[in-house]
């Protein structure tokens, strides 16, 4: 076995420094100079600790270099040391805006590996919760999108309406952000008796609010000018980068796992998949706005007749042993496909668990979209792809 000694300083972690140096020595004939500037890790619109190194010419973006790893927590490695049941709560902390969908995804993977049949009640409740979470996630995105475009008011309206769903979750689940509610084999507890009533109240409240969103923001001429034909991602590039979710659909690819490989009770409900035409920021905006309406439709169809049944089909105290083998399961979260790849060795812990998170692939679309646009457009694009940084770094 060959051992090599490496001191950290001698490892060329990135060639960024060299590139910046070479650019700063360079002078064009007009005496203007292109330059690099750090956007993040502390920047108001990188939504967390994402660092983008921008190569600029005046205000025009020539190149975007995302630098990752500022919230890397070693999630996948961690999962190799804790049991299958304990992993679920870690997925809350990936894409914290779709905690329930992440819970569902990993539970689904484990259930698939164990061949567990779930009853109808669990499936319906999971679907309702997931769609509520999708609405909630898009509400927050809408607010933040407004703020990134310079309008602060949508941010607070988004949060105000998000709070209504959060209150439902708080009563049903007992948590506001890190749910850990959907467990392998069912749900942590049964839903409360007034759950359906509360959800109906929320839908009645939110339907007119969606039109108000359009009045305040979507129709606004400044928004139209800022979004139309900005950051165009064509379908081919979108697929080649591996983008999923609303970004891929805005580019004109009707790829939605809820339709293609239905899980839960998605095959029993009627809903449409909004698809964009040009793949610009406006399409991405509209796809998400329409998705909120479609999610409301799904919840409306399910909420009135939640079937009776147990909320948990496995014994909670029992340890989970996944039989030896390789398992993969994926699910459509608010941002795209979240897949879990489990390599099990028959013990209580996975041998290897890989998480295919949507934001990591989605992020890289900016390096194709941003060049040639302004800094303000870069912020718009970054906001329109709706990244959550802990999901990128894991």
């Amino acid at each position: 076995m060959v051992t090599t000694t490496l001191s950290l300083s001698s490892v060329p972690i990135s060639s960024l420094d060299k590139r910046i140096q070479s650019l700063e020595n360079e002078q064009s004939s007009l005496g203007t100079q292109e330059y690099f500037v750090n956007m993040g890790p502390q920047h108001p619109s990188t939504h967390g600790v994402l660092r983008l190194v921008l190569h600029l010419d005046g205000e025009t973006v020539k190149e975007v270099i995302p630098v990752l790893g500022y919230v890397h927590r070693g999630m996948e490695k961690k999962c190799e040391f804790i049991g299958y049941r304990q992993q679920v709560h870690l997925t809350d902390r990936l894409d914290y805006l779709c905690a329930l969908m992440n819970n569902w995804a990993i539970s689904h993977a484990i259930e698939k590996a164990l061949n567990i049949e779930l009853n109808e009640r669990i499936q319906v409740v999971r679907t309702i919760l997931a769609e509520l979470q999708r609405i909630q996630s898009h509400q927050l995105w809408w607010g933040v999108f407004g703020m990134d475009l310079g309008a602060f008011t949508p941010f607070l309206y988004g949060f105000r309406d998000r709070e209504k769903i959060t209150a439902i979750f708080e009563d049903t689940i007992g948590a506001r952000l890190t749910m850990n509610f959907i467990q392998p084999g069912g749900l942590m507890f049964d839903i409360t008796s007034d759950f359906a009533q509360k959800v109906k109240e929320f839908i009645a409240y939110f339907k007119p609010i969606l039109n108000e969103y359009d009045e305040l923001f979507s129709g606004n001429i400044i928004v139209q000018e800022r979004l139309r034909n900005v950051g165009i991602l064509d379908a081919k590039t979108a697929i080649s980068i591996g983008t999923t979710g609303p970004i891929l659909r805005a580019s004109g690819v009707a790829h939605d796992l809820r339709k293609l490989e239905p899980y839960g009770v998605y095959s029993q409900v009627q809903f449409d998949v909004p698809v964009g035409a040009t793949g610009d920021c406006w399409d991405r905006y509209q796809v998400r706005m329409q998705e909120m309406r479609e999610s409301i439709k799904i919840v409306e169809q399910l909420i009135d007749n939640i079937p009776e049944g147990k909320h948990m089909v496995m014994k909670f105290g029992a340890k989970i042993r996944v039989p030896e083998g390789v398992y993969y399961s994926e699910m459509e979260t608010a941002r795209g496909i979240y897949g879990n790849f489990i390599v099990a060795d028959g013990s209580e812990k996975p041998y290897r668990l890989h998480m295919r998170t949507p934001n990591f692939n989605n992020l890289w679309s900016i390096i194709r979209m941003a060049p040639g646009l302004r800094i303000a457009d870069l912020v718009t694009i970054l906001s329109s792809i709706d990244i959550v940084v802990p999901d990128i770094d894991r």
């Binding site: 330059y35 500037v37 920047h43 108001p44 619109s45 205000e59 407004g146 703020m147 990134d148 475009l149 310079g150 309008a151 602060f152 008011t153 607070l156 309206y157 105000r160 305040l216 923001f217 606004n220 400044i222 928004v223 000018e225 800022r226 302004r374 800094i375 303000a376 457009d377 912020v379």
Partner: protein, 347 residues
């Protein structure tokens, strides 16, 4: 009216300047509080509620905090300019304020070229922003400063074009004369059509000139962190803040003076009883009432609209506002030549 220098003795001048500084500090504090409250209620919030009754003393607490805060200057900044830039912005605001007539008696310097003076001096303010952004030695600051420079110089044209319409009708550059010319009716509706259009242009262009949303590109917090004042803290930041809110006040005051009749009460043609009732309200109240309304409208803009992009900002000015301004001026010239405006014969 006699000129300032001949009537004011040295101590009186110092007193005037101190008075103006005190006035702007108080006005800025009130405006900051008002903005926070107005913003809060636009956003279904309450705003400051803790310091004093409904947070009325919040501004005092905030300014105290800013006074006591450490003044951080980047090591590689141009220290002299970095220190001096906020002062330029505040000075410009103070100098502009001197020429504004608050009522028929309360006018510090009734300059015969008042409109020209105000537009010229308020233009100095951008120098402070430019120097502040440049001297910080920060790329974000520099970008913000450059944006501010381009923006303010461009939009100055539209402001001037809309002011020219009123000057044509009033026939004077003296601000008090312009107010007096509106005794029969405010220019916004007395000059048929053109007055209203000029006012709209003025409102849009001055919102841009004072760097407020939807034209707050110089600050652009979601793009440039804080734009030109990224590297400012403590008292110097407070100076920029002060200048920003003073400029808001000045713009509203200019709008009120030129378009809404300054301290003049609202008069409608031949309704003598109504007009006499309106006369009971003192001129200062009218003036501040109009100013507050205008400030509210500009705040309303800020808490509703998103920001424009830098190239859209330029095309809005050069392709929309300026052609409209010239067209408006042309129409206004014909109208005033033939005396075609409402109530021309009252005085």
């Amino acid at each position: 009216m006699p000129s300032v220098s001949s009537t004011l003795t040295m101590p009186l001048m110092v007193g005037t300047v101190l008075g103006v500084v005190g006035f702007i500090s108080v006005v800025a504090m009130i405006l900051v509080y008002a903005e926070r409250k107005v913003a809060a209620h636009f956003q279904c919030r309450l705003g400051p509620m803790r310091v004093g009754w409904h947070g009325t003393l919040q501004s005092i607490a905030d300014s105290l905090k800013l006074f006591l805060k450490e003044d951080i200057v980047p090591t590689k900044a141009d220290h002299l300019l970095h220190a001096f830039a906020p002062v330029i912005s505040v000075m410009a605001a103070i100098l502009t304020l001197i020429a504004i007539p608050f009522s028929s008696h309360l006018v510090l310097a009734d300059v015969s070229i008042g409109v020209l003076y105000v537009s010229a001096v308020s233009g100095i303010g951008v120098l402070g922003i430019l120097l502040g952004g440049w001297s910080s030695n920060n790329k974000w600051s520099l970008l913000g400063a450059m944006r501010a420079g381009a923006q303010i110089i461009s939009y100055e044209l539209s402001v001037t074009l809309s002011l020219l319409v009123i000057i044509l009708f009033a026939g004077s550059l003296r601000l008090t004369d312009i107010v007096h010319s509106q005794e029969a009716g405010w220019w916004i509706w007395r000059a048929p059509g053109v007055g209203l259009l000029a006012f709209v242009l003025f409102l849009i262009a001055s919102t841009a000139e004072i760097n407020r949303t939807p034209f707050d590109l110089a600050e652009g917090e979601s793009e440039l962190t804080a734009g030109f004042h990224t590297e400012y803290s403590g008292l110097r930041f407070a100076f920029f803040f002060l200048a920003e809110y003073m400029n808001l006040f000045i713009v509203a005051a200019m709008g009120a003076t030129l378009f809404w009749g300054g301290w003049m009460p609202l008069h409608i043609g031949g309704f003598t009883a109504f007009n006499q009732l309106m006369d009971f309200i003192p001129g200062t109240v009218w003036f501040f009432g109009k100013v507050i309304t205008l400030i509210f409208v500009i705040m309303w803009f800020r808490w509703t609209f998103p920001r424009l992009r830098v190239d859209q900002l330029m095309s809005l000015e050069w392709k929309v506002l300026m052609p409209l301004g010239f067209l408006n001026l042309l129409v206004a010239a014909f109208l005033s030549l033939f005396g075609w405006y409402f109530f021309p014969l009252v005085f």
